[in-house]
């Protein structure tokens, strides 16, 4: 954020943040009021994340709730932030639809001493206290390429099936994928197309068909979105391309179980969304209780996940993404 009104304000905001000194052994306050604001409610993935976050809050005797728009648009998120501010909460946990659009209101919130935890999809770093990253975006991007390369022997045309063209985290990952592909060991692989399924089953489905017809020698598809990978797998599993084209990406085990079992998909990755919500919840608590301020190097206890340290830019990384395959998929249920 350069010279926007947003950044102007929040500079002051973050200053005030860092001025307050962290007290690592301050106890977690009871009855903290947290609010989860996902990109969009009724999205299975965020439902999982937030549910476990709300569970976590119970552990430290706080109360948490989930509110959010039914469409994944920045504007409707803003209205929710405003109401949350009105209602007065200790912390707002947000998965931003747009890093900048939400900044103004978020800083309003911070000026009222409401802590802001971004998770899953970051906001401009100037308008939140910390960001819980499901895994370093870089690691996700690069590992996806590796995953696919292993399955297609590093040779052939590949395509990416993303969510909406504006999804911040998607685009970051895709950048890293492109970068990874520049490496010599992937010289055999050629990214021919980035398609957008708008996280809509039917559209993702049709986009997949299109890709396969448009690029006859397509070897693999990476879909770093839960809706996309399911749609792609579903189409291929019921088409002549089954076994010829590899699908991988980010998906939930329950979604993908069928396609792993029937051999359409060998491997796909995801972090544990429950842990993500859990960690975010604890981070919010730590912030509100003054254990941390969001400065680099601070540490806090995150219940069963143990102690976590804040990295650069106030990022806390959940851990490396986990790779599912037919051997381990049945150990998970989410």
């Amino acid at each position: 954020g350069g010279t926007t009104k947003d950044s102007a304000e929040n500079n002051s905001g973050s200053n005030s943040g860092s001025k307050a000194t962290a007290n690592p052994n301050a106890p977690i306050k009871e009855g903290l009021k947290l609010a989860f604001l996902p990109k969009q409610i009724n999205n299975p993935y965020s439902t999982i994340v937030n549910r476990s976050g709300i569970e976590a809050a119970k552990e430290f005797k706080g109360e948490a709730k989930e509110v959010g728009p039914s469409d994944a648009s920045a504007s409707s998120q803003v209205s929710y932030i405003n109401t949350l501010v009105q209602q007065g909460h200790d912390a707002i946990l947000i998965a931003a639809n747009d890093p900048n659009a939400v900044c103004g209101p978020l800083n309003q919130a911070r000026s009222r001493d409401i802590k802001i935890v971004a998770y899953d999809s970051d906001t401009d770093k100037s308008c939140r206290d910390i960001f819980i990253n499901q895994a370093s975006s870089e690691e996700i991007g690069r590992s996806q390429v590796k995953l696919l390369s292993d399955q297609i022997g590093g040779q052939g045309e590949i395509a990416i099936l993303s969510a909406t063209a504006n999804a911040t985290n998607q685009n970051t990952w895709i950048e890293f994928m492109k970068d990874e592909l520049k490496k010599p060991e992937y010289s055999g692989m050629k990214l021919v197309k980035v398609a957008y399924g708008d996280d809509d089953d039917q559209k993702s489905f049709q986009q997949t068909q299109g890709l396969l017809q448009a690029y006859p020698n397509l070897k693999g598809i990476i879909s770093p979105t839960t809706v996309g990978i399911a749609a792609a797998a579903r189409y291929i599993s019921s088409s002549e391309y089954k076994g010829k084209v590899v699908v991988t990406g980010l998906g939930t085990p329950n979604q993908m179980r069928k396609f792993v079992k029937d051999g359409t998909v060998a491997e796909f990755a995801l972090w544990n969304p429950e842990d993500l919500g859990y960690l975010a919840s604890y981070a919010a608590a730590a912030l509100s209780s003054g254990q941390i301020t969001g400065a680099e190097g601070e540490k806090f206890k995150a219940g069963r996940l143990g102690e976590r340290t804040i990295g650069t830019d106030g990022e806390v990384i959940l851990g490396p993404p986990f790779t599912f395959d037919k051997d381990n998929i049945d150990d998970f249920d989410f």
Binding site: N42, Q206, Q209, G210, Q213, A214, A230
Partner: protein, 346 residues
């Protein structure tokens, strides 16, 4: 006898006129068909795989759900009404039936029946509000769009139906077929043919057109307006329900807002298909063609490797092109007709 007395004017030669007029009316369907053929031909030339068995199968599979909805919508639009709630109904039905069949394997037949029932119920509500309370269709169905959507979300609570939970037998309905012909298009075509035939060949069918063409005249002619309009909505709801079940069968993974925003898609299909939005004119065949055209455009643009960002723009452009060409054709024919009558006149 004081008024002007004499032989009536030599009128246009009926036969020629009749034939031409039929052509004008059918031209709407024809022009869409033409557009479709051109589109497919061009694509096939650029990329032969587009017409591969798989490719063709895909086109029809994609279209069939939209076709079903378009047929239902046509019935409603012909009576000078509109049903914006279909998208929400599909979502609701897809999810609820999904919920029903998931878990311990339940009977597919039962699932379908439930789907149809829910759809019919939604249609009934719309129909009663429009026909008996006489409230403007657009407002009512915009309202029920929100309501039904809300109910869908409420039931779903953010959960999702996964392909794994859906019994294979139901999934087969979505991808399987009889002797090479997949079920979905088969169902769609059967429904279309049935409704189309009914509208054309049965007195009660014609009354739908009468109502849309002039409600006042319909009342004076003793047409049971309310009953027909109600029927139109119930059928539309019923088909939306069927579409919902097929949606589940086809995509396996379903969230509550499946088919969100499809109402506009359906309406454009119907309009492109030459069904007059003011009622009284059009056929389900045209609407079905419209649906086919729209879905084909969707696939074609990907197959032609059109830049993702241009896809929406071009879809819109082609849509406008379709209706404009259709319109120009109609105007042209009218002029021809007038010239014709000139040669008979003098």
């Amino acid at each position: 006898m004081t008024t002007l007395t004499s032989a009536p004017p030599a009128k246009k030669a009926p036969k020629a006129e009749g034939g031409l007029l039929d052509l004008v009316l059918r031209a709407r369907e024809l022009s869409i068909l033409g557009a479709l053929v051109v589109l497919v031909a061009v694509t096939a030339i650029v990329n032969p795989r587009f017409l591969s068995a798989q490719g063709v199968e895909d086109i029809f599979l994609n279209a069939s759900i939209l076709v079903l909805l378009a047929v239902g919508q046509t019935l409603v639009v012909i009576t000078r009404n509109i049903d914006l709630s279909v998208g929400s109904v599909v979502g609701l039905v897809a999810f609820t039936t999904g919920k029903y069949v998931s878990g311990d394997d339940r009977s597919v037949v039962m699932a379908i029946l439930i789907g149809l029932a829910i759809g019919a119920l939604c249609g009934l509500v719309n129909g009663l509000l429009v026909s008996f309370c006489g409230v403007p269709a657009l407002v009512v169905t915009l309202g029920t769009l929100y309501v039904i959507q809300g109910i869908g979300y409420y039931i779903a609570q953010g959960d999702q139906i996964n392909a794994a939970d859906v019994p294979q037998s139901l999934l087969d309905l979505g991808s399987g077929g009889v002797l090479g012909v997949p079920y979905l298009p088969l169902i769609a075509v059967l429904v279309m043919a049935a409704v189309g035939y009914y509208l054309r060949a049965y007195p009660s069918g014609r009354e739908f057109y009468a109502i849309g063409s002039s409600p006042e005249a319909a009342r004076l002619a003793g047409v049971p307006i309310r009953r027909r309009v109600l029927t139109a909505y119930v059928v539309s709801g019923l088909l939306a329900g069927l579409a919902g079940v097929l949606w589940l069968a086809r995509f396996g993974t379903v969230v509550a807002d499946a088919a969100g925003g499809w109402e506009l898609k359906v309406v454009s299909a119907v309009v492109v298909g030459g069904v007059a939005i003011v009622g009284g004119v059009g056929s389900v065949y045209g609407a079905a063609l419209g649906a086919l055209l729209l879905t084909t455009i969707g696939s074609v643009l990907v197959v032609l490797k059109v830049n993702s960002f241009w896809q929406d723009a071009l879809t819109g452009l082609l849509l406008l092109l379709a209706i404009s060409v259709d319109r120009l054709l109609a105007l042209r024919m009218n002029r021809v007709l007038r010239k014709r009558s000139a040669h008979h006149g003098s």
